[in-house]
């Protein structure tokens, strides 16, 4: 198992700002009792390297709210930057993400609230990001499209150890009939936004999104037409359809089953 450090995402999507509430408090009282001062950084990709910016020094018990409309635009140039609690100052440029585990626990994972907001509402989730493998795929089943007075988006978060910004295509299918509907662009180390309403999915449809060469964390994002209600939830990877046993193998099997359908339904 890879020994991966923990990051917390600050995200942005068109017409919504992002926030990240950082609390220097582990989720339980027994697993990680660290008390050392930490340097809180935002880290973002400039393709050939990662840039870092110290945004706070925190002691245990401190809280810090970061908002995208209160920080330099450059930090959010990819609509995503990663917060990292470092035990020592970081250089301004680094070639790969830090690996030292600081804010880390397992039962449950140490998370912080990451969300989006406008002048009426906010929506959030308990977030943590472990760097994804550079060579991996994404397949997700998407039951979040809503149909009354709402704009539906898919947003895909990706972060890898390498800072490279690499474009890939995410394929869009309807699970009823796996003919390719469209392809949309997604980028590594970014938050990619895809507008879904133009594909005219129906209430009984279950879209499937598949990207053969980029992993990611996909979210369904809904914005009511009057902007007063926001809705956001991430989908599970296919392994979440089962418990116990070799879930990774099951995930591989599920993906292969659907890829086989893609090939046969698209006469590949």
């Amino acid at each position: 198992m890879l020994d991966l450090s923990m990051f917390f995402p600050l995200m942005k999507t068109p017409n919504l700002e992002g926030f990240l509430d950082l609390i220097y408090q582990a989720p339980n009282n027994w697993e990680n009792r660290m008390r050392k001062k930490i340097y809180m950084y935002l880290i973002w990709s400039e393709n050939s390297h990662w840039r870092t910016r110290q945004v706070a020094i925190m002691s245990r018990g401190d809280v810090c709210r970061l908002k995208t409309d209160e920080i330099d635009e450059g930090i959010m140039q990819n609509n995503l930057s990663l917060a990292y609690a470092s035990l020592s100052p970081l250089p301004e440029k680094i070639s790969s993400l830090p690996t030292e585990k600081t804010w880390f626990s397992e039962v449950p994972a140490w998370r912080n609230t990451s969300g989006l907001y406008n002048s009426f509402a906010q929506v959030s989730y308990q977030a943590d990001v472990e760097p994804l493998p550079s060579k991996a795929s994404l397949m997700t089943f998407h039951p979040f499209i809503q149909f009354l007075e709402i704009e539906n988006r898919l947003v895909v978060l990706n972060a890898t150890n390498s800072p490279e910004l690499v474009e890939s295509k995410i394929q869009i299918y309807n699970s009823n009939e796996m003919k390719l509907i469209a392809e949309e662009k997604v980028i590594t180390n970014s938050l990619s936004t895809i507008y879904l309403d133009k594909y005219e999915f129906q209430p009984s449809d279950l879209p499937i999104f598949y990207c053969p060469n980029m992993a990611g964390i996909p979210f369904g994002l809904g914005i009511s037409n009057d902007s007063r209600m926001l809705s956001m939830e991430h989908t599970h990877p296919p392994a979440s359809l089962v418990l116990h046993g070799d879930r990774r193998a099951i995930q591989g099997k599920i993906k292969r089953n659907w890829i086989s359908r893609i090939r046969s339904d698209n006469h590949e």
């Binding site: 369904g220 956001m232 359809l241 046993g245 070799d246 099951i250």
Partner: protein
């Protein structure tokens, strides 16, 4: 002994004391299916829906066949009130409105589980169990848009009509710190379910602008549910933690502000 070894040993000891058993048990029957215990909000302000998908079909890569599941309803004391079948046939998704079911004998339902029929998945699963950790959608007042939250815990398993509670509890009280900064003005609802076989007392402790207050504790029966509420005023900032024997006392959180809401795991 080097530092890494010391850290590893220390971690093993901590886990051995605090989590001697797994957080959730393995179902005792090979053909079990599992579900979370999903909160129901159903009153003049709230309604609840559930996104029913053909789970075996998603595993197989083919959702064209008919598929059934069993909805099991519990009241807030964890007493089972009844069961209803739901069905999906050739569709990708079926949005179930819980208010269609919550009447008569099921009127006092506070939580529900969804147990999918096993059909044609035995060879696919090996030693794994089909799990419903899917998506409940909540609507608030006259808002047309739902807020979604996925299943929080691997709470209950089902085999041949028999339920098994999967949550473990410890002998040392643990504190769960909700990983969300409470900001006002907002009303917060913290929904805690008990997936263990024992009644568990939950003690909420809230800190607002540096002042700590212990709120009324609540005994939550096995498979029961309780909503703790807190109001945060404008310019107040707070944190809340829950002390109990649960291995994982993590609530579903509703934040209501400005006549709209957010829902997420704490």
């Amino acid at each position: 002994m080097n530092r890494n070894t010391i850290v590893k040993i220390s971690r093993k000891i901590k886990f051995g004391i605090n989590i001697p058993l797994k957080v959730f048990k393995k179902p005792s029957s090979w053909d079990s299916v599992t579900s979370d215990l999903f909160p129901i909000r159903n009153d003049e302000n709230w309604s609840t829906e559930f996104e029913f998908l053909n789970l075996p079909g998603l595993i197989r890569g083919d959702i064209s066949s008919k598929h059934k599941a069993n909805l099991v309803f519990f009241n807030k004391a964890g007493v089972e009130l009844g069961r209803k079948d739901i069905e999906i046939s050739g569709l990708g998704r079926k949005t179930i409105s819980l208010s269609d079911f919550i009447k008569d004998d099921l009127e006092d339902s506070s939580t529900f589980c969804v147990f999918h029929e096993r059909s044609g998945t035995e060879v696919d699963l090996g030693g794994s169990y089909m799990a419903e950790r899917g998506y409940a959608g909540y609507k608030f007042r006259d808002e047309l848009v739902k807020g979604y939250v996925h299943g929080n815990l691997d709470a209950v398993s089902y085999s041949s009509g028999v339920l098994q509670k999967l949550g473990n509890f410890g002998f040392i009280r643990k504190t769960y710190f909700v990983q969300h900064l409470l900001t006002g003005p907002a009303e917060y609802n913290f929904v805690i379910t008990n997936p263990t076989s024992k009644k568990i007392t939950i003690k909420p402790i809230i800190e607002i602008n540096g002042t700590v207050k212990v709120l009324s504790k609540q005994a939550v029966p096995s498979l029961g549910c309780h909503i703790f509420k807190a109001n945060i005023q404008h310019s107040e900032v707070g944190q809340i933690r829950f002390k109990s024997y649960l291995y994982l006392g993590r609530p579903v959180v509703f934040r209501i502000a400005n006549n709209t809401f957010d829902v997420f795991h704490g």
